[in-house]
Amino acid sequence: MRLWLGLGLLGLLALGAVAAPWVQQALGVDPFTPDLFLRFGPPSAEHPLGTDELGRDMLLRLLHGARVSLVVGVAVALGATLLGTAIGLAAAWAGGWLDAVLMRIADGMLALPALPLLVVLAAVDTGRFGLPRGEAAADIARIVVILTLFGWVGGARLARAAALTQLAQDYVAAARVAGAGEVRVLLRHVLPNILGPITVATALAVAGAILAESTLSFLGLGIQPPAPSWGNMLANAQELVFSAPWVAFWPGLMILLAVAGCTLVADGLRQRVP
């Protein structure tokens, strides 16, 4: 039930994100060009959700923002889970000093104050390294890399703990006696048995990444205007909460729905996986 509700919510958001260009064609408006005669326009046939402080269509900006949020969320969650699972498996399997070193690094990452560091990292001028500056795609890539580098810790600890439990089981010893190599033991025996909790954690990580991206963009360090993201839309709306509440309401609702969708999926999965 929860699983389907969550998947339905995320599916609707994803559908909207994919359909953004067609909606734009159908409405015949450009969400990137300001039109100062149309500031804070009420909902109309041309602008179903009204317009923002620069006269741009709210609906289209939300849909384009959904692209950013979903891409960042899924990419960060997958990247962090892959990295984390690999590190966790390696630590659990090797034990000894490698385990100690990897886990102390993970502890160190947890001990770092994440947000200030994210702010510093996000302020790094990518143009210096010959990367394109100011393009939405470059912003997205940078955020994904930064959030992944911070996000693997949870996955690694989870994978390590789960793998340690499995490695102590007799079926692992049985596989070793049966002649299976260590890579085969880890990938074919241990990994399938720890996928349940890892999948749940990945679904939650999507929600975390969407929130983190919104936070960075809200602070002006994520996706740079004029490209829309829910976070920077909220940032623009902060002085308008009372004069034009819908400008803040819609991006806030989108973030809420996306995070709720991921959490519902995670909860639903938790009930299903052993």
Binding site: Q169, D170, Y171, A173, A174, A175, R176, V177, A178, G179, A180, G181, R184, H189, P192, N193, P274
Partner: protein, 356 residues
Amino acid sequence: MPDATPRQAEPMLEVQDLARYFDVSRPWLQRVLAGEKRRVLRAVDGVSFSIPKGTTLSLVGESGCGKSTVARLVVGLYRPTRGRVLFDGQDLEQARADAAQRRRMQMIFQDPYASLNPRWRIRDIIAEPIRAFGLTPDKAAQTLKVQELLTQVGLSPQDGEKYPHEFSGGQRQRISIARALSSNPEFLVCDEPTSALDVSVQAQILNLMKDLQQRLGLTYLFISHNLAVVRQISDRVGVMYLGRLVELAPAETLFTTPRHPYTRALMEAIPDLEMSGRQRIPVGGEVPSPINPPPGCPFHPRCPLANARCRAEVPVLIPARSTPEALVACHAVEEGRDQPEAPLPAQRIGTTATAL
């Protein structure tokens, strides 16, 4: 060291002065802060035996005596701290490096619920050794072999499509046996294969194992704490106490005339009509910690026959007086102190020996 092994049969497995210590110290920083020394657990401390081809040697003893560690050392899951394991005359390290040798030994585990991967189908579980050793590359031949193995252990060939959770404990143990047999092994290490099963199912599994031994000429190293089971299946029995062998004898000799005081205490613990008339030696106390074993004979704190020599000198495994086919590590047996000239007045019946 003398050896009770019949000379005519070649040993399948020979174990010489095998030892395995585990470091159970606390983490380095805590240890340094508390000013502690390293703590070493001597799980197995100098065990020697050999198993002639086609026979069964059982190792018995209380929990924590090191018998499961011996099983894991013998198949190479642990590396020995000291001593050697010779598999068919070849050093175990070399034998394990060679798939053609390695496939000749397999293991059956105690817990049939933990020893089968819950996410694999039975046919994949059974075929794992075939695939891992590359014995039959042909898929159709593998399927056929798996079906044959399932039939051989008394299951249906269609069971291969199911998952482990669809089977009972006894059936799972049959699957374990089928998996162990799939690489056509000659030597099976059975680590308490029946102790997790109901008594009625235990007998079925034991009969299956005996039947397979006769048909396939298997050699077994059988680990158990159940003396009734051991009597049914063994040719020879080794009794372990605190990481050492205290008695190693042919099964019938051990059960009719146990020599070591510890073995005798174990026999007392079996409720059995035939034995009700014999003199009983009560054994009290706990098994000492293998981290800090007592000096001399490890059994002396609980032994009714212990004297000053027992407290100082570690006894070695030597043929016993009057039953030379049994090897016993006991000063009292060596000196004849265990069999008084005149029968003693009836001592109290019963024993405080902890149940095995």
